[in-house]
Amino acid sequence: MSRSLKKGPYVSERILKRIERMEGGKKEPVKTWDRGCTITPEFVGHTFNVHNGNKFLKVFVTEDMVGHKLGEFSPTRTFRGHTLRKETTEGE
């Protein structure tokens, strides 16, 4: 079920404050566990270190990412394909 429109998008207060503070100054990565936080236009151009349950993955926010959640860019699973058998396996 989607979030109630009445509440508006979920944006972490802490992250917003951090970004506000960095205004004009130099941008440094924001470390966060808050994967559910929606990316707002203010985030563009900042780098986040988003926790994936194990490590913090660097996410550089571009304009296209607005409206998505931070967690969408920090995969939590590692599966990257099966080991390829000889010619017995067909396809792929």
Partner: protein, 127 residues
């Protein structure tokens, strides 16, 4: 057979149905278009007058995205997801379902024909 918006030539079915042969028009949109044009949808497509065909065509061109243009739009949306490397984009790249469906079994629409792997236990055995 009337010709509507380029190459598409719907048949001798009721107009309402034959419009759905256009990519991007389903039954619902079809009804709405005909309502906007004030044409009886149950009338056969072949019985439409030139003027009625033109009216339908202009209505579609004005208010609907259709055929190649719609396909391009969908493709662009997918490409955007791929470019920003979000979860859904990655699923698209890998040809897997991106709305959280199970992939242990099924998901054949996205994954294509089964690729049998020697020595892999069947689903029945796994239970």
């Amino acid at each position: 057979m009337p010709r509507i918006v380029g190459v598409d030539i719907p048949s001798n079915k009721p107009t309402w149905i034959s419009l759905t042969y256009l990519y991007g028009i389903g039954r619902h949109q079809s009804k709405r278009i005909l309502e906007a044009c004030g044409i009886d949808g149950l009338k056969r497509a072949q019985d439409l007058s030139e003027e009625e065909v033109a009216r339908i065509a202009s209505e579609i061109e004005k208010n609907h995205v259709i055929e190649g243009q719609l396909k391009r739009q969908v493709q662009a949306n997918v490409q955007r997801l791929k470019d920003i490397a979000c979860y859904r984009g990655i699923r698209h790249r890998r040809g897997l379902p991106c709305r959280g469906q199970r992939t242990r079994t099924n998901a054949r629409t996205r994954k294509g024909p089964r690729k049998t792997v020697a020595g892999k236990r069947s689903v029945k055995e796994m239970r």
